[in-house]
């Protein structure tokens, strides 16, 4: 397991998201209106929509493709939909963000 610096919280718009690329998958890093940050896999469990492009509200994001609502905390689909995305641990040191990645994430699928 490895903490990787990914940038500053101000790089992410309030109620917005940015994408972090890794060899294993794309990760969406969100910043809520309350200035909390969350990281989840950037891939909706429904039809693989890029969650980082969705509208952020409360601690959830609505997928831009078909309006699934995903919890940023748990990665679970909300409401009647069933599905889950991977969540990642984030560290916020005075605005400097790092993400905890496990070994397979660091290796490009060959």
């Amino acid at each position: 397991m490895n903490w990787k610096a990914i940038g500053h919280i101000d790089d992410i718009p309030l109620r917005g998201a940015r994408c972090v690329k890794t060899p294993g998958m794309n990760i969406a890093v969100f910043r809520t209106s309350e200035n909390e940050v969350f990281a989840i896999e950037n891939r909706c469990p429904h039809k693989a929509g890029p969650l980082s492009e969705g509208i952020v509200h409360g601690k959830s994001v609505t997928c831009p493709l078909h309006n699934w609502v995903i919890s940023l905390e748990s990665g679970m689909a909300q409401g009647a939909d069933e599905g889950e995305v991977r969540t990642f641990e984030l560290r916020n040191d005075n605005g400097t963000l790092s993400i905890l990645l496990d070994h397979p994430m660091m290796v490009a699928a060959e």
Binding site: L14, V20, E53, I55
Partner: protein
């Protein structure tokens, strides 16, 4: 034989009387009304919502022009009756109209009481009785500054809240020690004062006005204690006096009001009186419920049934200030033979007090939570012995019998004769039976047939619960579908309140309209963002995080997360240079698919998000701007080749299409907006299934609108024919602006038009040139801020973060 019925006054009481009369004895009377006000009958209870901006004058009209026409009523507007000749049975108006009557009804209402202090005649001193007063207050509010309301009763407080909502600095002066002392005990008066002060309204009790100061117009008020309070407007709301002068001059019996018997007949058998000017059983009335009861009785007597008689009953009082719930009924003075039950919850701001005499409720004051008002009223009316439920009585109906009931069960448990609508005296049984017998399914129908919830509207919730109980799943309260689960308000209410309250940011909307979530959801945020962009084009800062991804990155997201790019091709016309530029971009960025769209332009599909700014930069060099193919906004204006080439073309349809597109591009609309211009009725540009279309003919331009060719298929309707291109453009732009200002987010033009009515749109856009010009001007103003090419902005670096990953990690490291 038809008799002549003349009515002096056109307020709510005679209006209601006529409704009953036309139902019971259609055609029995030929009716003439003289109205001192230059208007039709409107709902005076609703003046406060008009003042605060929650409703408009049009919303509160009870009888429109058509109603008078249908019933053959002659209405003299703005013509006051100056004399009654009882011997000749005629009335004479100030303009000299003489009308003969068989029966005369005096319904002159009341006059506001103006306290006789120096300066009371200064400009800027108004009462609060009719629409003219409201207009005067609105005019003052527009200038801003300080307002003083004299009188801390029902009317005064509603005026104060309304002026505050309009942005004025408001002080209420009340001569008594606590507010609304006739309806509230001091404890509830205190809570009310606090609630008003929390809203920024200053309240001074025990305030004696010594003089109103000013030179030609109001500048300040001086109190007895020497205090001087500045004000640009003073509203007197200290009480009303029955307007009896005319009756007195005619020699009718008059005390405080015009004396009538319990059948509403005055001391002259040919003359009746009703409403606020009438005195029955030694009492005069000011609340609507007894006035409507008078109307019912008068109508019945006129129709020949003399059995109904007016009986006094207590009327509950409710304050119509949004967010303050207050209910008071009956007698609540203390006395040796009386007991009381009081419940206070300071944190929740709840105060309830029941006054009991000989185990029966005689008075009720509820503050903060008023849902049980109807139940307490029912117990009081029926003189129910409450000793059995004494311990839990104050907690309300839900707590009787042990477990709390849900609100629906509470309504179900009400007896059939429980009063639901206090204003109109409608009981539960009447509502449920009318729903069943007439097969009613909507709230408006129930209002029309029973009058329940048709006046002040505070019982609407109860009526809707009754509809649900009676109809089950068949009742779908679609009339007020909330925007989303974050609010109870529908789109129309939200749009209206944004304007009325001057809300200019999404947090302001959510705060003021009491959103239930902290920052909304993916449904309401884009809608609110649009409404604010539309209503405050120069002041509102567009919130990109509340826009759908397509409008945030100015391209259309595809199923695989890539984007499609559509440059504008004015009127569908292009040339070699543009096509070459597109071909070069396709090669350079290896764009996998190039497709001609239905809107006469070219779509480049499969562009990676990170490439978007570079693609736009290259397209921009060839002169392209964004086609906004992703926007809830102006999309395309399709054209045919028109008179330049076509042997059938009647006008330059291509030129007009390009002109319209160049004028309107960049504008945001509630849903996408697609136009077309055809050069002749053969209609090669398919203008008759567009949101707005033009069919050119020899004599000019036929403007079409409200077509659809998507989920629904619908041909357009003709809005009208205009002679010149300039006129065509003005009409199209004005229509678009009207749609922008009124429609609900995501509502296409044909759905909006169906709701508003095609005739209404025609009236506002074609017939009313002033309206049309105003719409047009507002669109032009808004375009100053909207016509910025989003692509070139982003090529210059705006929103860079949107197109780049925040970081790339894990690449180039050795796997261990």
């Amino acid at each position: 034989m038809t008799q002549k019925l003349v009515i002096i006054g056109n307020g709510m009481a005679p209006g209601r009387m006529l409704e009953h009369l036309f139902e019971q004895a259609p055609g029995a009377y030929e009716v003439t009304i003289f109205n001192a006000e230059p208007r039709v009958n409107y709902d005076r209870i609703m003046l406060s919502p008009v003042l605060s901006g929650e409703k408009t004058y049009e919303d509160i009209i009870i009888h429109g022009d058509a109603w008078y026409e249908t019933h053959g009523v002659t209405l003299h507007r703005g013509d006051r009756i100056v004399a009654i000749d009882r011997a000749k049975r005629t009335v004479t108006s100030q303009t000299g109209v003489v009308a003969a009557y068989d029966r005369l009804i005096i319904a002159t209402g009341s006059n506001p009481f103006i306290i006789p202090v120096p300066g009371k005649d200064l400009k800027g001193v108004v009462a609060y009785r009719d629409l003219d007063d409201v207009s005067a207050m609105l005019a003052a509010a527009e200038m801003g500054g300080e307002a003083i309301v004299i009188g801390g009763g029902l009317l005064g407080l509603e005026a104060a809240a309304g002026l505050k909502a309009r942005g004025m600095d408001v002080t209420v002066l009340h001569v008594m020690p606590s507010l609304m002392e006739r309806q509230l005990d001091p404890a509830a008066g205190y809570l009310l004062q606090k609630a008003l002060e929390d809203r920024g309204i200053k309240v001074i009790c025990k305030a004696n006005t010594k003089a109103i100061l000013g030179n030609g117009k109001v500048e300040a008020i001086e109190l007895d204690d020497g205090r001087i309070i500045p004000a640009s407007i003073v509203v007197m709301a200290v009480g009303i006096r029955p307007n009896v002068q005319l009756a007195k001059d005619a020699g009718l019996a008059v005390n405080r009001g015009i004396v009538v018997d319990d059948g509403m007949t005055t001391s002259d058998g040919h003359i009746m009186a009703l409403g606020e000017c009438a005195e029955v059983g030694g009492q005069v009335y000011g609340l609507v419920a007894p006035l409507y009861e008078m109307a019912r009785i008068a109508a019945s007597h006129l129709a020949g049934d003399k059995s109904p008689a007016f009986v006094h009953s207590d009327t509950p009082t409710k304050l119509k200030v949004t967010g303050i719930d207050l209910y008071s009924l009956g007698d609540f003075a203390e006395g040796p033979d009386r007991e009381e039950i009081v419940l206070r919850d300071a944190t929740a701001g709840i105060y309830k007090r029941l006054v009991i005499k000989e185990n029966r409720i005689i008075g009720t004051v509820l503050y903060g939570e008023t849902a049980d008002g109807a139940w307490f009223n029912d117990l009081k009316k029926k003189q129910t012995d409450i000793s059995e439920m004494r311990d839990t009585l104050i907690f309300g109906q839900a707590y009787q019998g042990g477990a709390p009931l849900d609100p629906m069960a509470a309504v179900a448990a009400l007896p059939d004769d429980a009063e639901i609508c206090g204003c109109n005296g409608v009981c539960k049984g009447k509502i449920t039976s009318t729903i069943t017998t007439k097969g009613l399914t909507s709230l408006d129908e129930v209002r029309a047939h029973t009058k329940a919830s048709a006046s002040c509207g505070s019982c609407t919730g109860l009526v809707e619960q009754l509809m649900t109980l009676t109809l089950g799943d068949k009742y779908n309260p679609a009339a007020v579908t909330p925007m989303c689960t974050c609010t109870e308000l529908g789109h129309d209410d939200v749009r209206r309140l944004i304007k009325a309250k001057g809300l200019k940011s999404i947090p302001a909307v959510m705060q003021e309209l009491e959103w239930k979530t902290s920052c909304g959801c993916a449904k309401c945020r884009p809608a609110l963002n649009y409404y604010l962009v539309c209503d405050w084009p120069d002041e509102y800062a567009d919130d990109y995080q509340s826009r759908f991804i397509n409008e945030r990155v100015h391209a259309n997201i595809q199923k695989d997360g890539t984007y499609s790019v559509v440059p504008r091709m004015w009127g569908g016309v292009t040339n070699a240079k543009e096509l070459r530029a597109i071909a070069d971009v396709v090669d350079k960025f290896q764009i996998p698919m190039v497709k001609v769209t239905g809107g006469q332009r070219i779509d480049l599909l499969g562009v990676e998000k990170e490439d978007l700014p570079a693609v736009w930069a290259d397209l921009g060099e060839a002169g392209f701007i964004s086609g906004q193919a992703y926007a809830k906004g102006l999309r395309t204006v399709k054209t045919c080749v028109g008179s330049d080439w076509c042997r059938f073309g009647t006008q330059d349809s291509t030129g007009l299409g390009i002109r319209i597109e160049k004028f309107m591009w960049g504008s945001w609309t509630p849903a996408k907006l697609k136009l077309a211009v055809s050069g002749c009725p053969r209609n090669c540009a398919e203008a008759t299934c567009k949101d707005i279309g033009v069919i050119c003919v020899d004599s000019g331009f036929e403007i079409h609108f409200a077509g659809a060719a998507g989920l629904d298929i619908k041909g357009t309707d003709v809005l009208g024919l205009v002679k010149t291109e300039d006129e065509a453009l003005e009409v199209i732009v004005a229509l678009t602006q009207m749609y922008r200002e009124q429609a609900r987010y995501l509502e296409r033009i044909y759905k909006w038009a169906k709701r508003v009515g095609h005739d209404e749109i025609r009236k506002q856009i074609l017939e009313n040139t002033e309206r049309r010009k105003a719409y047009y001007d507002r669109f032009v103003f808004s375009q100053k801020f909207a016509q910025v090419d989003p692509w070139s902005e982003r090529v210059s670096g705006k929103d860079k973060h949107e197109f780049k990953p925040m970081a790339s990690v894990g690449y180039g490291e050795a796997a261990e």
